[in-house]
Amino acid sequence: MNNKQFLNELSDKCQIGAEQAATQVEQLIGVMEKIWQDGDSVSLSGFGVLEVKKKNERVSVNPTTGVRMLVPPKLVLTYKPSSLLKEKLK
C-alpha cells in the first residue's frame, strides 16, 4: 500500500478531502517529530510505540579487511508493535 492509497483510505474514513488528509498527515507527523525531539515517545493502544532510541557508538570490524571503524552514536526512530497487534499476526 503506497502513500496515495493510504491517503485515499484515510480521507474516506474521516470523510474529508484527499488534500486535507494529506496536510493533516503532514501536521500529525510534524507534531510527532516534535514529541520525539523532546525525548518523548508516541504510544498508541492497539498500534504500538514509536520512540527515538539512542544507539551507542561502537567499533565495527570489516571481516574481510579487518579494518576497524568507530561507528558514531546515533538517534534512531524505532517502532515496537503492541501486543494486541502481535496477537493478530498469529
Binding site: N2, Q24, E26, L28, I35, L70, L75, L77, L85, L89
Partner: protein, 414 residues
C-alpha cells in the same frame, strides 16, 4: 522527557497545530494508525510519506538453546512488523549526532575503547575501583606520550555540544554529552595511567619493539646470506670454465705423463700400480690415449712430456706420486683459486707452446668423431685439437662431415 504521549494528548497537540476540533483530530489520529495496523496485516506493506514504511516480515524457524537448562528448541517461524523511517525523518531525528562520521581507527585505539567500556561497567559496579590503578601510575606519567584514542572519544561528543540548542531535549543531550566528554576524558586519563602501570609490570610495548627488531634483524641476516650465496654462485659460474677445464686437463696431463713413464722409464715399476686408480676414473680417455702412446707413435707423446713438466716442477717429486696427487686435486682443491690459476697457466702453455712440423698421420673422420677425439687419440689431449684445425685450414671445426680427411701434424715444443 521520557513521557508517553497517548492518543488524546497527540490529538490535542494536533488540534492546536492544525486549528481543528479536538474530536476531529482524535478521530483522524485514530484512523491514521488503524489503517496502518490493519493494512500492514492485510497487504504486508504500508508506506506513509514523511513517516516511513511499515512492513510485514516472515521470520524463518531457528534453533535456540534454553539458557537455564541448555536444551535445544526451535523458535517457530513467525511474522514480524518492521518499521523503516523515511530517510528525511531519520536525518532530522539524528540531527544532534549528525556531525559524527564513521572513523577508521587502529587496533590499539579499538582495544583502548573496549577497555574503556569495561571500565564503564566496573565503575557502575564499584565506583571506588578507578582510584586503585591511579596510584602506581603517578610517577611514570610524564614518560608516556599522549594516547591516540584519548582525544578521539571526548572530541566526538563535544561537537554536537557546540551546536546551538534550545529545546529541552537538546539541552538534555548537551548535558549528557558534556558529561560524557568529561567522563571520556577522565577515562582516557585513567586508561593512560593504567597502561603505564601495565607497562611497568609487563612492558608489553618494549617486548613488541624487541620482537619487531628481532624480526627485522632476521630479515637483514637472511638478505645478507642470500646475497652472499648469489655472489658466490656468480663467481663460481664465471670461473667454472677455467676451473673445470683446467682440472680435467691436469688429470689428463698427469695420466699421459704416467703413461710415458710407463713406456720409457722402466725403472719406475711402482708407477703403473699407483696410476691404476686414476685410470679407473678416467677410463674412456685412458683406453683411447693409451694405444697411441704405447704404439709406434711415441713421438707425439714425447713432446707432451715437456708441457707436463712444469706441472711436476713445483712439486719435484717422483712422477708416480705426482700423478696421484694431481689426480686428487680435482677432489680436494677444486675450489681453490690459486690452484685454478696454476692449472689455467699450464693449459695455455699446452696450446701455445708447440710448432707444427710435418705430417704425423692422416686420419679419416668417422661419423660422430670430432677433432678433439683425433687430438686425444694422437696427442693424448683434447686441448690440442686447434693445431689440427689450423694445420688443415678448417674454419668451422664444429661442422665437420664424416669422411673428412685430416692431416695430423707433428707437434714440437717451441
Amino acid at each position: 522527557m521520557d513521557n508517553k504521549i497517548n492518543l488524546s494528548q497527540l490529538a490535542e497537540r494536533l488540534a492546536q497545530e492544525g486549528g481543528m476540533s479536538k474530536a476531529a483530530a482524535e478521530q483522524f489520529v485514530k484512523n491514521f494508525f488503524d489503517i496502518i495496523s490493519q493494512r500492514v496485516l492485510v497487504e504486508g506493506l504500508v508506506k506513509v510519506k514523511g513517516l516511513g514504511t511499515f512492513k510485514l516480515i516472515q521470520m524463518e524457524d531457528r534453533e535456540s538453546v534454553n539458557v537455564n537448562t541448555g536444551e535445544r528448541f526451535t523458535i517457530e517461524g513467525h511474522q514480524k512488523i518492521s518499521f523503516v523511517p523515511d530517510a528525511d525523518l531519520k536525518d532530522r531525528i539524528n540531527k544532534p549526532f549528525a556531525a559524527f562520521d564513521t572513523v577508521e581507527i587502529s587496533k590499539e585505539q579499538a582495544e583502548a575503547l573496549s577497555r574503556m567500556d569495561e571500565e564503564d561497567e566496573q565503575e557502575a559496579v564499584a565506583p571506588v575501583a578507578p582510584a586503585v590503578p591511579e596510584k602506581p601510575a603517578v610517577p611514570e606519567k610524564p614518560a608516556v606520550p599522549e594516547k591516540p584514542a584519548a582525544p578521539e572519544k571526548p572530541a566526538a561528543p563535544e561537537k554536537p555540544a557546540e551546536e546551538p540548542k534550545k529545546s529541552a531535549k537538546e539541552k538534555r543531550l548537551e548535558q549528557k554529552q558534556a558529561k560524557k566528554a568529561e567522563e571520556a576524558k577522565m577515562k582516557a586519563q585513567k586508561q593512560q595511567e593504567k597502561k603505564e602501570a601495565a607497562k611497568i609490570v609487563d612492558t608489553p610495548t618494549v617486548k613488541d619493539i624487541t620482537q619487531k627488531k628481532g624480526t627485522r634483524c632476521l630479515l637483514k641476516v637472511l638478505i645478507a646470506i642470500l646475497t652472499m650465496i648469489l655472489v658466490i654462485g656468480l663467481v663460481l659460474f664465471m670461473l667454472w670454465p677455467v676451473v673445470g677445464n683446467s682440472v680435467l686437463d691436469i688429470v689428463e696431463k698427469n695420466l699421459n705423463k704416467a703413461k710415458i713413464e710407463m713406456v720409457s722409464d722402466s725403472v719406475k715399476t711402482v708407477a703403473p700400480a699407483e696410476v691404476a686408480p686414476v685410470k679407473a676414473v678416467e677410463a674412456p680417455a685412458e683406453t683411447e690415449s693409451a694405444k697411441p702412446a704405447e704404439s709406434p707413435a711415441v713421438k707425439p707423446a714425447q713432446p707432451q712430456q715437456k708441457p707436463a713438466e712444469p706441472a711436476v716442477k713445483p712439486a719435484e717429486t717422483p712422477a708416480g706420486t705426482d700423478a696421484l696427487t694431481a689426480a686428487k686435486y680435482p677432489v680436494i682443491k677444486l675450489n681453490s683459486k690459486d690452484e685454478a690459476k696454476d692449472l689455467s697457466e699450464f693449459t695455455l702453455a699446452d696450446v701455445v707452446n708447440y710448432s707444427m712440423e710435418g705430417v704425423l698421420d692422416t686420419y679419416t673422420l668417422k661419423k660422430g668423431e670430432t677433432l678433439t677425439i683425433v687430438a686425444l687419440n694422437y696427442y693424448g689431449s683434447k686441448k690440442l685439437w686447434p693445431y689440427i684445425a689450423k694445420y688443415n685450414n678448417i674454419k668451422d671445426p664444429a661442422r665437420l662431415k664424416a669422411g673428412t680427411v685430416v692431416k695430423v701434424p707433428v707437434l714440437k715444443s717451441k
